[in-house]
Amino acid sequence: MKVNGDVAALDVEPWVSLLDALRERLGVTGPKKGCDQGACGACTVLADGVRINSCLALAVQYDGQEITTIEGVDHPLQEAFVRNDGLQCGYCTSGQICSAIGMLAEHAAGMPSAAGGSGALTEDEVRERMSGNLCRCGAYNGIVDAIMEVAR
């Protein structure tokens, strides 16, 4: 697979998750292991541009795909998170930013949401669309502000 633009040749057992392959085999430790059961979103990466939970992904299923982690991201969201206090401890931040990048692309492509629709991105929309990323510090207001700033 390609990881952050570089070809990574990996020989992994089929039971190795994408998250473990990135962190333990390739030393790409930006994606975090929070719950390891798809409940927190700290492991969020982009696979061919689509946000996924890398903890529930078997690495073998992503053979040949292009994986982007926070290490491969150069996006206005990063500075916006700093400016808007979108973090406290920072553990969830790499997943939040990868998720937000995927989310903005989904919204731009017309993906609807349970918050009402695919129109302008409102704060309610951001909260609904980002609900798969938990922040135990409770920096949600800053996270929403950062995303809204970049979306505008």
């Binding site: 057992e13 089929p14 039971w15 998750s17 390891d36 059961q37 798809g38 979103g41 969020t44 689509v50 946000r51 996924i52 939970n53 529930l56 992904a57 078997l58 073998v60 299923q61 998720s99 995927g102 989310m103 989904e106 492509a109 017309g110 993906m111 609807p112 949401s113 349970a114 909260r127 609904e128 669309r129 980002m130 609900s131 798969g132 990323n133």
Partner: protein, 329 residues
């Protein structure tokens, strides 16, 4: 995770062959449920047959006005499909109310149909659970059973089916296409899942090695809607959910379809309520009578007794919304 062999067949015949010949084989779709269960040791397949390379990832119009949905269509893609949004809003809404953006991007239609319960005692391998370990008992019966089922339950299991999508499919009279080495058969989605009885470990009508390849929807009802009640506003399983379609003519209900989630071991088609609604007045009193009749058979525990009134109120609210908005033709 217990080690397993992994195969990724290039065509459906190879997939069915692998499932029939490899010992302890299990199909893998998006992985959002199976990988989690394997990590917890609840599922321990010897061979995983990854079916995501099979060509079942399209949504196609049917000649009769219905829709054919490939089993490998991702939940997010199905929710966003303009035909689903326009003609089957209940299905798009149900999908969007489930899980998170990341999980919907991974999860497949076939996997969603076959996802297993989220009952706390099923997941906790130190607890008694007849579904996980037949004959071991059920710690949910007198345990923390707030999320458990009230209809279709037995003394051996009160776990709920967790899917939102399946509740919408039940209301829409969807038909599931199943392939095995012996050929193809079609199962109404309302017959796919079984009630627990004495064998809660047997959850579906599928024979070992059978693969879900598609879901077909008949032509859509006039208007439909999904309403979900849960402990937080997003990213939580349903306490109660309602999928409904309603057609009203001159104040009389001409078509009623109702299915419930979060309250039963399978997506619960509320046929008694539908029978009472059809031909009757489209008013709140009639909606309430129908809801109460459906819930009359409820068997509650200490922690989930609230679900009877919550389900009744949610049914009434959903039907009221439908009767007031656009359903009158």
């Amino acid at each position: 995770m217990k080690p397993f062999a992994y195969v990724k067949p290039a065509d459906v015949e190879a997939a069915l062959h692998a499932a029939a010949t490899e010992p302890g084989a299990k199909f893998l779709g998006g992985g959002t449920n199976l990988v989690d269960l394997m990590r917890e040791g609840i599922e321990q397949p010897q061979t995983v047959v990854d079916v995501t390379g099979l060509p079942f990832d399209t949504v196609e119009d049917l000649p009769d006005g219905g829709l054919r949905i490939g089993a490998l269509v991702r939940n997010s893609a199905l929710a966003a499909d303009p035909r689903v949004r326009d003609r089957y809003p209940v299905l798009s809404q149900a999908l969007l109310s489930g899980a998170s953006g990341q999980l919907r991007n991974m999860a497949t239609v076939g996997g969603n149909l076959l996802q297993r319960t989220r009952c706390l005692y099923f997941y906790d391998t130190t607890s008694a659970c007849n579904k996980r370990e037949p004959g071991s008992g059920c710690d949910a019966l007198d345990g923390f059973n707030r999320s458990c089922a009230i209809l279709g339950v037995s003394d051996s299991c009160i776990a709920t089916h967790p899917s939102d999508m399946c509740v919408a499919l039940a209301a829409l009279d969807a038909v599931v296409e199943v392939r095995g080495t012996g050929g193809t058969r079609r199962v109404p989605v309302t017959d796919l899942h079984r009630l627990p009885g004495d064998t809660p470990e047997i959850e579906t009508d599928l024979a070992p090695g059978e693969l879900i390849t598609a879901v077909e929807l008949p032509p859509a009802p006039a208007d439909s809607r999904y309403r979900k009640v849960r402990d937080r506003a997003s990213y939580a399983f349903a306490l109660v959910s309602v999928a409904a379609a309603l057609e009203v003519s001159d104040g009389t209900v001409t078509l009623a379809r109702l299915a419930l989630g979060g309250i039963a071991p399978k997506p619960w088609r509320a046929r008694e309520a539908e029978r009472l609604l059809t031909g009757g007045p489209a008013d709140e009193a009639a909606f309430r009578r129908a809801a109460e009749a459906e819930l009359a058979a409820a068997s509650v525990r200490d922690g989930n007794a609230f679900k009877t009134s919550l389900a009744t109120a949610t049914i009434v609210a959903t039907l009221r919304e439908l009767s007031q908005e656009g359903a009158v033709r």
